[in-house]
Amino acid sequence: MLSRIAESLFWIGRYVERADDTSRILDVQTQLLVEDPGIDEAVSCRQLLSVMGVEDFEGTANRRAIMRVLATDPDSPTSMVASLEAARESARRARETLSTDMWEAINTTWRAIGSGRVRTMRPPALFAWVRERSSVIAGIADSTMSRDEGWQFLILGRSIERVDMTARLLSTAALSDGPKVAWPTTLRAAGAYEAFLRTYRGLEADRDAAEFLLLDRLFPRSVVYALTRAERSLENLASNGGRRAGFDDESLRLLGRARAELEYRPLADVVFDLPVEMERLQRSCSNATDAITHRYFSTETPMSWLGGAH
C-alpha cells in the first residue's frame, strides 16, 4: 500500500474519532454547566479549553466560547467541524482506495457542514449528529473494508485517538468541581454508563468509574482496550512472525509501555494525580504517532532489509 494512502487512512481514523470524542466531552461539560449550580463557568470553561489543548485562547471563557472553539468554528483546529473537514480532505486524497459507501458517508457529513445545516442545530442535537455520523462512518468501514493494511491503519488511527481523547475526558472529570455529578455524566458520555452499572453492580464510586474507563479490558472505549487494539494493529502491520525477544517497532514499544504503566501499577497510584497521568498518556500517543509516521509514512525509504524483493 502506498505510504501516502496509508497516512490518509490513519488520519481519517483519527479525525473521525476526534470529532466523536470531542462531542462526547462537550456533551458532559455543557450538561455540567447546566446541572451543577455551584460550578464557576469561567473557571471550568478555561480548564476545558486547556485540557483540549487550546493554547492561545483570548476573551471570556464561557459556554458560547467553548462551543465556538471546540464545536462549530471551522477555523479553530480543535473544533469538531474542523476535524470532520480534515477527515474529508484525507478521504479525498485516498478516494480511490475507499469504498463508494465509505466515501459518501464522509462526504455527506462534510456537505452538511458546508450547507449550514450544522450551524442551525442546537448543541445537544449537534453532539448527537456528530456521534451518529461517526458511527455511520465506522460501521460502513467495518462492513465494506477488506481487513488489509488499509484497515489496520484506519483502526490504528482510531484507537490512538481514542486513547488520547479518553485521557482528556478523564482529565475533565477529575478536574471538575462537582465530581458527584461529573463521573456519572462522564460515563454516560462515553456510552459506558450501563456497561459500568452491570460490571460494578450499581455501586457508583468515582474511583470505580475511573477504573472502568481506564482499565476495563472488555469495554471498547476504555483506555486499555483502545491501547490493546492499537498494539494489535501494529503487530499485524509489522508481521515479523516469531520474534523471540522484544519488539523492533518503536511505536509498539511506546504504546505497550503506556499500557503497562496503567495496568501494572496500583490503581490508587494512577488516580492519585489523574490529570498528570493522563497528560503523560497523551504524550505517549503523540510520540507513537511520530514513530508510526517515521516508519510507515515517511517519504524517506525506511531502513529495513527486504530480502529479495527486488
Binding site: R92, E104, E149, T301
Partner: protein, 542 residues
C-alpha cells in the same frame, strides 16, 4: 415522424430552432423517430416532476463528490436530465471514423519520432512538427513495447447543419472527461428508470476494463504481471475526480509524483513495505511536468529520471511523451492527407473546413473576412483564446489581426459552424442547446476500441457555441442505441446456472415465536391492577 403535442415543457422549443442548425430531436415541428420515446416520456411528465428529478440528480452528484476543479475549488459538474441519443447507424460511422483516425495518428507519431518519411514524401512540411512546442526531441527513437503511443484518445466531434459528424479536434495527449460518461450513466438510470428501460442502450461500464487491458498490454518486454499506476498531479487538479475514479475502477494505485522514485533506470513507488517496482504509468500530467531532468526543472509534480527509465525500456508511459505534435490544431488540417498517406483510405469523418494562417493566400482571404470566421490558436485548449468573428467587437478584431500577423503559425481559421442542438432543461422549460461529442478510444496494440457513448458537452447559455465546462458548460448522458441485429451484451456469463433456483426462507429466530406467552403476561398484569388484593408476587416475565 409524428406530430408533437405541445405542452408546457417543450413550449416554444421550435421557435428557437433555425434552419442552419441541426436539431437532434426535432425536424422542424416533427419529432425524429429515434427520439419519439424520450419525447413522449418528457411530455407526459409534469414540469414539477422533471424538476424534482433534476434536483435529485444534482444532489446525488454532490453527495458522490462528482466534481471538477476550477482554480482549486470543487464545483459540481452539471448533468442535464434529457439524454442525448445516437442511433446505431450514425454510431457505426463514428466508430469506424475514430478508429481510422487514431490509426493514422499512431502511424504519424511513429514516423515523426522515427524515420520521418512523411516529411521526405512532402505530405506534411517538417516545419509543422519542428515548430510545435509539443515536439520533444528527447523521445525520438524510443519505441513503445507494443508500438502504441495513443493509448487513450478523445476525438472531438460535432454535427454540422446536415447532421453529419465532423471532427473538430483531436486529443492524443491526456483527454479527460471519461469519468463523467460513467457516472452520468449511473445517475441517469436512477433518475429516469422508465425511459431508460424503453431503450436498448449500449453499456459504457466496460471502459475501465478495456483501459486496464490496454495499459497491461503496454508493459515492458518480459514483464508478465505488470504493476500499473495512475499518475495524478494531485487533489487540486481539475480532473482529480476522474483520476481517482479510474484508479478505483481499475483497482490500481493512484500515485503522485512524490510517491514514485527512479533508481538505476527503474521506477518504484514508496509503500509501507518499502519500494515496489512500477511497470506502466498512466499519466494524467502534461509532458512538461513529467520529468524535471528533461523538461521544466522547477516542476515538483514529476519524477526525475522517468524519461531515462522509459528510454531504457523499464517503464511504459501512457500516453507517450511527445504526442502533442499529433493533436496540434495546425496538424489537424493535415490529418485527412495522413489517412490517405498511411492507410490508403478516404477519411470516414471529415474535418471542418480550415485555413492555415501560415499560408499567405489563405491568410489574406481570412484577414478580409475576420468578422465572419472563427479564429483558433493552434495550441490552445479548453476554448481559451478562441475568437468568434460575428460576436467580436471591432477592437477585438483589431487585436486579433495584429496577433495573427505577429505569429501566423499560431492560428487557424474556420467558418462559424452551428453545432447541432439537443433539448436541454433550462429555467423556462426544455429548449435547444448546442452540443459536441467526445468519444473515447482505447488502443491496446491489437485494435482500437471506441467506447460506445462518449461525453456530450452542452453549452447552457442560449446561443452559446463554446461547450467547455470552464465556460458554463454541462454534460449529457449519451445513449448509443444498440444495433437491433446485435445483442447488447454479447459476453457469455462466466458463472453458469442451470434452471430455476428456489431460495430458502430465512431462519425464524425466537422473536417470531409469538402466540401464548405475551397474552399470559398481559393477563398477569391485568390481574395485578384489577384485583390488588390477590396481586401475585410472581414476576410476570419469569
Amino acid at each position: 415522424m409524428s406530430q408533437a403535442p405541445r405542452d408546457d415543457l417543450f413550449g416554444s422549443y421550435s421557435d428557437q430552432l433555425d434552419s442552419r442548425t441541426f436539431d437532434e430531436m426535432f425536424a422542424a415541428d416533427d419529432v425524429r423517430d429515434n427520439y419519439a420515446a424520450v419525447h413522449t416520456a418528457f411530455s407526459e411528465m409534469d414540469a414539477l416532476d422533471v424538476q424534482a428529478r433534476a434536483d435529485s440528480l444534482a444532489s446525488s452528484y454532490l453527495d458522490q463528490g462528482v466534481t471538477f476543479g476550477v482554480e482549486g475549488e470543487e464545483r459540481p459538474f452539471p448533468l442535464d436530465i434529457v439524454p442525448r441519443l445516437i442511433e446505431a447507424d450514425a454510431w457505426r460511422t463514428v466508430d469506424v471514423g475514430v478508429r481510422q483516425r487514431v490509426n493514422a495518428l499512431e502511424a504519424f507519431l511513429d514516423d515523426v519520432y522515427g524515420a520521418g518519411e512523411v516529411f521526405n514524401d512532402g505530405v506534411v512540411p517538417r516545419q509543422v512538427v519542428t515548430s510545435s512546442e509539443h515536439f520533444h526531441r528527447v523521445v525520438a527513437g524510443i519505441t513503445p513495447p507494443n508500438g502504441v503511443r495513443i493509448h487513450v484518445s478523445g476525438i472531438d466531434l460535432i454535427r454540422d447543419g446536415d447532421g453529419e459528424f465532423r471532427v473538430l479536434e483531436d486529443n492524443a495527449r491526456v483527454p479527460s472527461g471519461v469519468s463523467y460518461v460513467m457516472t452520468n450513466r449511473r445517475a441517469m438510470s436512477a433518475a429516469l428508470p422508465e425511459v431508460f428501460a424503453d431503450h436498448r442502450i449500449r453499456p459504457v461500464s466496460s471502459y475501465s476494463r478495456q483501459l486496464l487491458g490496454a495499459l497491461r498490454a503496454a508493459a515492458p518486454a518480459g514483464v508478465t504481471d505488470p504493476t500499473v499506476v495512475v499518475l495524478t498531479p494531485g487533489v487540486y487538479n481539475s480532473a482529480y475526480f476522474e483520476h481517482a475514479l479510474l484508479a478505483r475502477t481499475m483497482g490500481i494505485e493512484l500515485v503522485e509524483g512524490r510517491d514514485l522514485v527512479c533508481r538505476g533506470g527503474r521506477v518504484h513507488m514508496r509503500t509501507t513495505r518499502g519500494l515496489e517496482p512500477v511497470h506502466v504509468i498512466y499519466r494524467r500530467l502534461d509532458d512538461e511536468f513529467l520529468d524535471p531532468v528533461h523538461f521544466r526543472a522547477d516542476s515538483m509534480l514529476g519524477i526525475p529520471g522517468l524519461i531515462n527509465a522509459a528510454r531504457a525500456g523499464n517503464v511504459s508511459i501512457a500516453n507517450a511523451v511527445g504526442n502533442g505534435v499529433a493533436d496540434d490544431k495546425l496538424l489537424y488540417t493535415y490529418v485527412p492527407d495522413l489517412i490517405r498517406y498511411y492507410l490508403h483510405e478516404e477519411p470516414v469523418l471529415k474535418n471542418v473546413d480550415t485555413w492555415r494562417m501560415a499560408e499567405k493566400d489563405a491568410r489574406e482571404e481570412v484577414l478580409d473576412r475576420l468578422d465572419e470566421l472563427v479564429l483558433k490558436p493552434v495550441d490552445g485548449s479548453g476554448g481559451k483564446g478562441i475568437v468568434i468573428g460575428p460576436a467580436a467587437t471591432q477592437g477585438e478584431l483589431d487585436t486579433l489581426r495584429a496577433a495573427i500577423l505577429r505569429d501566423p503559425r499560431a492560428w487557424i481559421a474556420q467558418p462559424v459552424i452551428s453545432l447541432s442542438t439537443v433539448p436541454t432543461l433550462v429555467e423556462d422549460g426544455i429548449r435547444p442547446r448546442h452540443v459536441d461529442l467526445r468519444p473515447f478510444a482505447v488502443n491496446d496494440g491489437e485494435r482500437v476500441w471506441v467506447l460506445p457513448g462518449g461525453l456530450t458537452r452542452v453549452a447552457l447559455p442560449e446561443g452559446e457555441l463554446i461547450v467547455n465546462s470552464s465556460r458554463g458548460g454541462g454534460s449529457k448522458d449519451t445513449w448509443v442505441m444498440a444495433d437491433p441485429a446485435e445483442p447488447v451484451a454479447p459476453e457469455a456469463p462466466e458463472l453458469g446456472h442451470h434452471g430455476v433456483v428456489e431460495g430458502l426462507p430465512p431462519d425464524h429466530g425466537p422473536a417470531h415465536d409469538t402466540v401464548e406467552e405475551p397474552v399470559e403476561q398481559q393477563q398477569q398484569q391485568q390481574q395485578a391492577t384489577d384485583d390488588p388484593e390477590h396481586a401475585t408476587e410472581e414476576d410476570p416475565t419469569c
